[in-house]
Symmetry: D2
Subunit: 342 residues, 4 copies
């Protein structure tokens, strides 16, 4: 049975990525697309690469008849998202890709996003959408909050290790490198090709990146105590990709064993043989995450490296994976697209 | 019914692209992979991005039992390819991706490739694999010769125009820009990232590129007279993509009408509205070709621009499209993957 | 003797490139910098790569005391430029990098730029700044109009050939590929890294690019009759560089001989041996232009390829070259910086 | 007075970079160039971007008459370099860019480079070429060993901090990102554009990169005890640039004060205001190193970020800086070239 899907905020990169995935999904079809500023346009005008698809035109959200919609993906900016979702039918299944429902506590949201949450009941209702760790809750959920793309990458590297107690919780340093599509389609000087190409830099240095809110929430919850990692993201002259290089203190063999065990049955999380490190080029355009563990020359220290595509496994792929669960579809449906290399 | 596929020469980029496409093809499975120098290795060692697939290890060709194989893709270098195919079972369906069987005449092969053809009977047997124009022959063929990637792009832009007689056959200039994956995985200084990145140049200037052999053969055949185009390829700092900018003399409206009419029912050939020009970024990773027609300010002159992905529509996607026909499968099966953008 | 230089509109890429060149120029120093929106900022805030230089802060133009200024570079947008220059002291030497004074005729300006010229007296006064062809006029000029970067490239390839009468004036096709810095630092969606990287396309197709105004003016003037070339620019995923591939009809040997002769004593125009084609990567960051001539397989046809750096020889380097002449300095002073490769 | 310079091993990227710098150096001229495999060729055949220079042809080393040479740069592979330098006149000033003379102890060389040193007397004679820290020794030296490019970057970030005792010596983690030109012009599959572009990865993970030999030697020497840092380099899809993100434990204000004080009079080492982080794009093509210090959200932790161009400040620029000192020339001569941006 084909489910009817609405994508709210379809004119951004995560919206386009959702359409790309659904284009060959066996059980979903795009039934409605919204885009405030581009309402009235055909999707092929906004994204010419989708020209071959028979898609509905972009409309304003209020023009959508949700009665025939089985699930809505909400790919709007944060703050906007909570206002929009609050107005949607309360029985509509929603996967939100914004930051609005990732943090459980209203105080945490205000701390990291700088203003009070305006839909705290929805915040309480939402399930955190890191599929591999919230599978059962997601299956039963009406509203799922997609994770931050950096947050997903770091958690794939660290959650089983914190859970198993094989690393020192006070000495976790995550140095992360992300491609520019993670910053979206916004018109900012520092996203111009001439500014970014052939150059790279750290940003949000010093522990101020908002995805730290997710790390703090999740890692502390698992550990049963406060855990604060150090985290520095870097912008890299590539379109897609996140590479997290995580420095931990613990036994490398135990770390590798723990990750391998935890992900043995996971279709999308691939642990490399001990000593190998992954590359972003090997996951591009796919829903896979590659993880590697290497022992440092200094005893008791190890490096965990995780690579994924920020737009797929880090965002829209994860969203479809969650939607599959929410709709009672096989979890991997539509998501086994192989990475595009070279 | 699932067909068993062998890929000979699977350690190059077109081999990897075949595996990528077959990974989500509903009716094909990879049953054998060969790679002379990499025989004995697992495919994931050669192409870590295929790590999630359950693939046979690379073997030498002579180790493959072809009795259970329904079709073989041959992604070997030219000259090697004719020698290998000559030794394969004579009833095995073969799609060759090399240049060995593209030219009908032994003399033409020797002229463009610098040595005599050693399997002229196969050369005579082979069908030229430009799917949209040789569909019926391909359906009936045992041996299909995949076209050059540049040759495919240029022919999509020009064949209907030559056929319809709407352009001056003596004034065709094709300026083509291709990404670096078209040059393969060979270890050459001019393919190094440090050499290519942030720079671009013309190569094989002056009418010496081998794909001219295909243009001459095909265009002359259609026109019923000798047609020689001017053709200059350029190497561009991008991995995938071919953009052919073709300067022709003729009525732009007639040209657009002719192309639109010819491709009205083609699933992969998309003609843009009059006056629009395509971009390689909108076809990357897909089997689509976008075509545009623009009138020049000088009456009687027009520019036709065609864009496709050299590894997909220009090579491995075309190969699968041909194989679908040869195996009695729906032509588009496995090939409706949407382009990856950004 | 050190000359005091003002740069008006110093917050764009051509402004930064002027500062880069002047930084090691033996006879110039930056005495004033203007930037309307960034007035009050230090140059290192706008361009951190210039942090090591002792530069004046950005101010508004009206705050500059021009009495001590020997020459002003005007790197403002077109239309703005004519208004600003009209208000400058009438004895101040000015090199304008905008499009405002490139076209001799008011009607031509209005045709290509869509509105009437508001300083037609200055338009008449201005000398066209293609140094190698207007050297004596520039030496005597007060106001010099820097050429379009594409216009410079194409003229280096073609002027001597038109002058010498060795090519067919009605069959000139110029296919040009330019890097993204040529589009400036404007916030446009199509200049984002995620949009441009790994993709390329033709733009202003059909003879509507404004630099055609310069080609028409200059080529017709040389030929003594109307000459209209075909011209298609392409945007390439590289920051710097212009590569013009020019298709002409004429004897290749005569063409090569003509170019070699014309540029034999030119320090910046380097003609390659017959049959070789240049690459943008070999001129990056420099004031050199490399030119090549290749005979086509079809008799009587040749390809001329010219490569330069749009920000240097195509814009700010040319501007300094002109300023050197206007100030009685050796023409090459400060401009012999070698290209940056890789 | 102009000094005559020989460059041995001029056909690699560091050789080309030396020529680029010397091209506008007021007191040096290239008098001899060697290249074993390319002997007999003109430099413009090997590096077309140097076409405008009047350079000697490449010869074999034994063909060079060193009697008129004031200083030789040796840009050969390690192991080759020690054999070649051992045969050079013993009074010839030499700046070696290989790894052969960086480590003081024969045992350390063997440990990191896998075979015994064959010129241990030269090894003892050589001065470590980190200019800012060995200025007086270099001025007096005959043989100077250029540092590793990563090693230089990391030491600029850390030496004053170790010296001043403001950071915990056992908790230093350096995550480094380098452009591909650092890997040289070798024909390796992983250096192909198609492999690297749009992808990035960690390599030599776990403390096995050879530049660790330099860190261990230098940091331990400064500290007066054994210091072992953690160090993970990453290959980034850019040609030039090194960005070292260094995680340290100590007071951020003290760290910033220490670096600022140490480099207050250094022409090439630029410390940014507290809280700012540098970018590789702002040092490209120059001899500058930009350094930033940011306080982490966790008290007592800071991030130091250093950016430089691996081919200039990390290699050939450093070499010229050292040669200036050895030849009694002003240290900054020829090296004040501004970075090339964009």
């Amino acid at each position: 049975m084909i489910r009817n899907i609405a994508i709210l905020g379809a004119s951004g990169y995560t919206g386009a990525e959702l359409v790309r995935i659904i284009a060959t999904h066996p059980y979903m079809r795009v039934a409605a697309l919204s885009g405030e500023r581009k309402a009235g346009q055909a999707m092929r005008e906004v994204f010419p690469h989708l020209r071959h698809l028979d898609l509905p035109d972009l409309v304003k959200i209020e023009e959508i008849d949700f009665s025939g919609i089985d699930l809505a993906f909400c790919a709007l900016p944060h703050a906007t998202s909570q206002a929009v979702i609050a107005e949607l039918p309360r029985d509509l299944k929603v996967v939100d890709l914004s930051a609005d429902f990732r943090l459980r506590e209203a105080a945490d949201y205000e701390k990291w996003y700088g203003k009070p949450h305006t839909a705290t009941d929805l915040q309480r209702e939402a399930v955190y959408g890191l599929t591999e760790f919230y599978r059962e809750e997601i299956r039963a959920a009406r509203l799922v909050a997609g994770t931050g793309c950096n947050a997903a990458t770091g958690q794939f590297a660290l959650r089983p290790l914190i859970e198993a107690g094989v690393i020192d919780l006070d000495q976790i340093i995550m140095d992360l490198k992300c491609g520019v599509s993670g910053a979206g389609r916004a018109l900012k000087e520092n996203l111009l090709h001439a500014e970014l190409s052939e150059g790279y830099h750290a940003y949000a240095v010093g522990g101020i990146h908002r995805h730290l809110g997710e790390f703090d929430q999740e890692f502390s919850k698992i550990a049963g105590r406060k855990v604060e990692v150090q985290f520095t993201p870097h912008l890299i002259p590539a379109n897609r990709g996140i590479l997290a290089t995580v420095y931990v203190q613990g036994d490398a063999a135990a770390i590798h064993r723990t990750l391998s065990g935890a992900y043995a049955d996971e279709p999308f999380l691939q642990v490399l043989p001990m000593g190998e490190a992954p590359s972003t080029r090997h996951v591009r355009g796919s829903n896979f995450c590659h993880l590697g563990v290497v022992q440092d020359r200094r005893d008791g220290r190890a490096i965990v490296v995780a690579a994924l595509d920020n737009l797929t496994k880090g965002s829209s792929g994860q969203a479809v994976q969650n939607a599959n669960l929410m709709l009672g579809i096989e979890e991997t449906a539509g998501l086994m697209l192989a990475p595009v290399f070279p």
